[in-house]
């Protein structure tokens, strides 16, 4: 009695994942819950544990391959010790094993090589709308790919891939116009010299699609300001050792997050998403902050939940652990989703400022460059102060310049009076 384990529903509208690593070999005996594969989704690299105990009969995937939800990953043979779960084997007690797969796997996806199970008209539709039909999972009898399957598959690569499934149920209000440009064909670069083509990694492709979506859909406006963080810096330095005793690495970023969260409470339109289909603004009564982390594989944005309600020391502790998980590729899906506002700190790499792109479908993103000691004129005196350049990029459909300026000031006010950050929770 063979059982096949397919890529499970990953939630959050995720429909595919890239296999990074296969951790077992055919013939291996594995225990339930021991690691089988490492996969990378749009959001995270995750380890998939085995749902069964048994012998690995066949591995259907290899590293680098992109698999859809429902596509078989690993088939298990009988392991003497593991009783077959009754639910998966309607034909288990009969003497005709050949029958079981037909009945048990009515939606068997294509198993390599063979022709696509689709009518000629469906195949034409796939060519017409640019869908690679070989990669579409068929929902019809015998894994047949229907027109709807093809249309369903076409939505994904072309854009609408919201981070949260806040996907638009069309309301009574007027939908906004759809934005989107076809990229024109590229010139033949070979005429000017040799070139090389590299396929994009799954993560790179996701970033590319998401950034293009955000940049083309959202009218970005960017507000610049500066915060005097001399006192904050001093406080961080003073408290650093004490915090370390408690296992906490105190960083400026934790204070930034906290300051942003508190400012968002005063300016809720920046802690929101615009629903153009419904013509509504979705205000979020939670404050989950994304923090951009540069990894070897590319940009990943893990999320710290309820920053507005957590003491800054807790935020610092969580941030350190989260960043580590992300860099190790061990982040869970929950670590990476549900953000309502994003902070990106490019200070570590220098620069005097950068204009970030909004993490769609959020409304705003705060970027900070490196804080530097500068000569500042105060009461007619030139004094050395540590100045932090801030850039706030926000969606002009949702907020105007004056709103942005006020929101930035609300952040700066807190950074310049750091005691308050400890006081307010």
């Amino acid at each position: 009695m063979s059982r096949t384990f397919a890529l499970p529903d990953l939630g959050e509208g995720l429909v595919e994942a890239e296999i990074r690593n296969v951790l077992v070999r055919e013939g291996d005996l594995v225990k339930e819950d021991s690691p089988l594969l490492e996969v990378e989704t749009d959001k995270a690299q995750v380890e998939i544990p085995s749902p069964f105990s048994g012998r690995v009969e066949k591995i259907h995937v290899q590293p680098g391959q992109t698999v859809k939800v429902g596509q078989p990953l690993v088939s298990f043979g009988d392991a003497g010790d593991a009783a077959a779960p009754a639910a998966t084997a309607p034909g288990a007690s009969t003497s005709a094993p050949a029958a079981a797969p037909v009945r048990a796997v009515p939606q068997a996806p294509r198993t390599g090589g063979g022709p696509v199970a689709a009518t000629p008209a469906t195949r034409r539709l796939a060519r017409e709308i640019g869908v690679e039909i070989q990669s579409v999972r068929g929902t019809g009898p015998g894994g047949r790919v229907t027109d709807d399957d093809v249309r369903g598959a076409s939505g994904k690569p072309t854009g609408e891939r919201p981070a949260a499934p806040a996907a638009a149920p069309v309301g009574p209000a007027k939908p906004l116009a759809v934005v989107g440009l076809e990229p024109p064909p590229l010139p033949k670069f070979e005429q000017w010299g040799p070139v090389e083509r590299q396929p994009l990694s799954h993560l790179r492709r996701t970033i590319a699609e998401r950034m293009a979506l955000s940049a083309s859909l959202i009218p970005h406006v960017t507000h610049f300001d500066r915060a005097d963080i001399t006192d904050l810096n001093a406080m961080v330095t003073r408290s650093f050792e004490a915090a370390k005793q408690h296992g906490i690495v105190l960083t400026l970023t934790s204070f930034l997050l906290k300051a942003a969260a508190l400012a968002l409470k005063e300016h809720p339109q920046f802690n929101a998403s615009l629903d153009p289909g419904a013509g509504e603004l979705v205000l979020k009564h939670y404050c989950h902050l994304g923090i951009a982390v540069a990894t070897e594989r590319g940009l990943i944005v893990p999320v710290i939940r309820d920053v507005d309600r957590k003491p800054v020391l807790d935020v610092a502790r969580e941030l350190a652990a989260l960043a580590q998980r992300v860099r190790d590729g061990k982040a869970t899906l929950d670590d990476l989703r549900g953000g309502s506002f994003t902070v990106t700190n490019i200070g570590a790499l220098g620069g005097t400022g950068a204009i970030p792109i909004i993490n769609y479908p959020e409304v705003a993103i705060l970027g900070v460059a490196r804080g530097r000691e500068e000569p500042v004129v105060r009461n007619g005196q030139i004094v050395p102060r540590t100045i932090l350049p801030l850039t706030l990029t926000f969606d002009h459909r949702v907020a105007d310049g004056a709103d942005g300026a006020r929101f930035a000031q609300a952040i700066i006010r807190r950074l310049e009076a750091p005691e308050a950050l400890f006081a307010e929770w």
Partner: protein, 464 residues
Amino acid sequence: MVMGDLVTEVDVAVLGGGPGGYSAAFRCAELGLETVVVEAAKRLGGACLYEGCIPSKAFLHVAAVLGEAERAKEYGIDFGEARISLDPLRKWKAERVVGKLSRGLASVAKAKGVAVIGGRGTFEDSRSIRVGGDEPQVVRFKHAIVATGSVPVQLPGLAVAGDRIMDSTAALEVPDIPERLLVIGGGYIGLELGQVYAALGSRVTLVEMTDGLLPGVDRDLVQPLARRSEKLFAAIHLGSRVAGLREAGGAVEAAIEGQKPETFDRVLVAVGRRAVSESLGLEATRVKLSDRGLVIVDERCRTTDPHIYAVGDVTGEPMLAHRAMRQGKVAAECIAGRPSAFDNMAVPAVVFTDPEIAWCGLMEAQAQQAGRTVKVAKFTWAASGRAATIGRSDGVTKLVVDEASGRVLGVGIAGPGAGELIAEAALAIETAVTAEDLAVTIHAHPTLSEGLMEAAESLLHRSS
């Protein structure tokens, strides 16, 4: 191009007027492209209409009628000895069959506004074809479609002169009914024409190089044909070659390996066909040929030259008119910017012998080669009511399905009408039907079409 050349400017120039060429041209015209066909014979139809499919089927019909009359003796009806008059027979073929279809094609071309330029065309470059003959001119095109087809292969090593050695084209003229005919080649052409001549009264000896008739075809399908051929033919030599042919005194002496020298009145050489890709000026374009001389195309029928497409036999196996016709339409649609592709899974093949043999998709042996896990059902017509009523219980229907999904992958049929029956199978494969779909679809009773339903049903019952 030389000054003073007559130049015709078109959207699409089709080189070759066979089924692939005219299908492409008609579709181009339908899609609003100005199209001409360059064809040496200045008529549409090609080998299929004038020296292949159509005339051979006309004669096979005659053979079937003679065969049925012969069989009728079994149930008490004797028509007596058949008297065959060759002149009326040839005239019927030439005028009522070929001529009628030829005129039909010409009128379709006229109605669609497709001009046929008579003359041999050769490419001058990737944008023009020079046409010789009575209407010399240069055709400048935006796109060209190469549809030059194939011709019978000459027997290697047997350079013989004389009209007693015929290829299939000559044999279809039926110059006479030879008393003793040697057929070299046990493929579909040799078998079809061998049966025609046998029915007309020739003593036919057939020599095939491999160890079975119809090499490459499923053995279960070949078996009923082999049995029938053994009755019809004087001798069948398998695993044998003809080492030499010598014309002597109004006859041909043949040295068949392992046999005593034997004398025949005529010899038919039917050892295959080869693509016509030489002397077309393709070297002046960017079209690439395979090492076997076939034009290399992708699934949109595009060659390696961006202005030139190719369809049909010149692109390789299977060299069948209906494949060429579909490719022709694909090429036309791609040129017109439509999302077309030759992605067909089932190209039915039919051998119009008695009994007919037809198959499409993946047969058992190919499925095994491809490493697929399949289930195979065989329905013998001994259990068919309809087969019994026509006295033909020797047929068989074979069904190959994917074990996991139950999807129909291949079908083979041997028996009268197999060529018609295979259409259902092609539809089933092309539209990804499962064995269950076939089993529960009502097939009229009593008909031979029930065989496919029965085969599918036996698979379902086996698995429950």
